[in-house]
Structures are given as structure tokens and as C-alpha cells.
């Protein structure tokens, strides 16, 4: 199969505005699409667990990274959410990872802004004092990793 790459990574959230508070306002991603969509065509009923009337879909991207995959975030306004995020050793897609220039500084910055780290800072800090990668929880408890580019 020939593919030109990964176009997007998709996740579902309870409250899209809360998620934007993290991905847009704290991580600095840009909203490139924000629409309420019909969920009855395009095969969606086959890939949904429940019957849903509409979904709000937001596409997020880092500025200047138009060749990278988008994050596609969806929610189902006024409908009951279902499910819980998974950990790394459970079957499914557990997390995505962003490469950042300074993982240690970002870890302090995010902790300072009240973002829950998946473990205390010393767990992520090597004996040389460096942080090669760390994990945080997004507003829904979805694991998000940040790496120094080598992971």
C-alpha cells in the first residue's frame, strides 16, 4: 500500500472547550477547523459505540507544521460520554508524543500551570539530571507524552 503519511490521530473528549484550554491555550496548538457535523453518514455509525446525533470536531495543528498529522478532537454535545482512557499496557492506542526542545523546562512549566504529571518529576529525571521524556494527563485523563526527539 502506498500512503503519503499519517493524516491524523483522533480522540474523543468529554468537553471540547476544556480540551482546548489544554491543547490550544497551554500547548499552543492552532485550531484549523471547528465544526458541528452530522454523524449519520460516511460510515460513522459503523465505527461508533452508541447512536449519536451530532459531533463537534476540532482539528489542531502546530503552526508551521502543515505536513505533520493533525489532532482531530471530537465531542458529542448534550450526549452522555462513555469510556475511560487507557494506560500503555492496555490494548488500543494509549498516547501520542510531542517532540520538544527542552523536556525538563516544559515539565516544570506544565506542573506550574497545574497540569497533572503522570508521576512526580523525579521519576522522569535520570541520574544525569536530564529528562528524556515525561507524561502528563490531559483534561480527560488521556496520557500525553513529551520527548526530547530521540524516543
Amino acid at each position: 500500500m502506498d500512503a503519503s503519511g499519517i493524516s491524523h490521530i483522533a480522540f474523543c473528549v468529554r468537553d471540547l472547550d476544556k480540551s482546548l484550554g489544554f491543547y490550544r491555550d497551554i500547548l499552543g496548538m492552532q485550531v484549523v477547523f471547528d465544526q458541528v457535523q452530522d454523524t449519520t453518514t460516511g460510515g460513522l455509525p459503523h465505527v461508533y459505540q452508541h447512536s449519536r446525533k451530532t459531533r463537534r470536531t476540532v482539528h489542531l495543528q502546530f503552526a508551521g507544521s502543515s505536513t505533520n498529522p493533525k489532532l482531530v478532537v471530537t465531542s458529542h454535545p448534550n450526549e452522555d460520554p462513555d469510556g475511560d482512557p487507557i494506560k500503555l499496557d492496555q490494548i488500543g492506542i494509549s498516547h501520542y508524543s510531542f517532540s520538544v526542545p527542552d523536556t525538563k523546562a516544559l515539565m516544570s512549566e506544565l506542573a506550574g500551570k497545574g497540569i497533572p504529571l503522570a508521576a512526580a518529576p523525579d521519576v522522569w529525571t535520570g541520574s544525569d539530571g536530564n529528562v528524556s521524556s515525561f507524561y502528563v494527563y490531559d483534561p480527560d485523563g488521556i496520557l500525553v507524552q513529551f520527548d526530547g526527539g530521540s524516543a
Binding site: 500500500m1 491524523h8 465505527v47
Partner: protein
Amino acid sequence: MDYLTYKHQRNTRRQVRLAYGKGDVKPTLTMTSHPGNNPDGKPIKLDQIGISHISFTVADVKSLASELVAKGVALAGPMDGFVNAQGDVSSIFVFDPDGILVQFDSGSGG
């Protein structure tokens, strides 16, 4: 908090990293398994909280669908179930061997 980023205590993991093309291509797909340990959990659908799928952009969604079906890959629904409001098939979903949803799109997003 379980075992930090793990639900269960695991001693080893096998890790495989996949990418299209050569060199430092991002993103990579990183797959893991835990040999000798019991697996836990099951994949989710698009309307459940968490990361449901990744999508690959391909040149011809319909012919890829036929190719995958011929190779025994399970489509997530009947072919005509993926027709969109414009009457086209611009994306399909299949199940990987664990039932994880994988999408193929024509590049128009969604």
C-alpha cells in the same frame, strides 16, 4: 495511579517502531506487547473517551478498500456504509488484528 503509565506490573515489553520512508521520519508508530503477560483491555470506538484511531492518507480509498478486503482485512462496515453526504467514499475504516480502528482517507481530513 496504578503503575504510573501502566495499568499492571509488567517486567518486559517488546517495542517495534514503524515509519514510512527512510531516515528520521516523524511520526513513528510505536507498537508494544508484553510477552508472557496477560493482555488487558479492548480498543474503543470513535465516540468513546480516549484515542480511537489513526488515519493514513492514500491516493485511492476505494481501490485500497478492495485490495484490503481481498487480503482478508476486516472492514468496519459494508463498503456502501462509508458513502458520505456527497455520495463519495472519501474514507474507510478497517480493524487491525486487535480490533483497533484504522482509517484511510483521501486527504480531505475528518
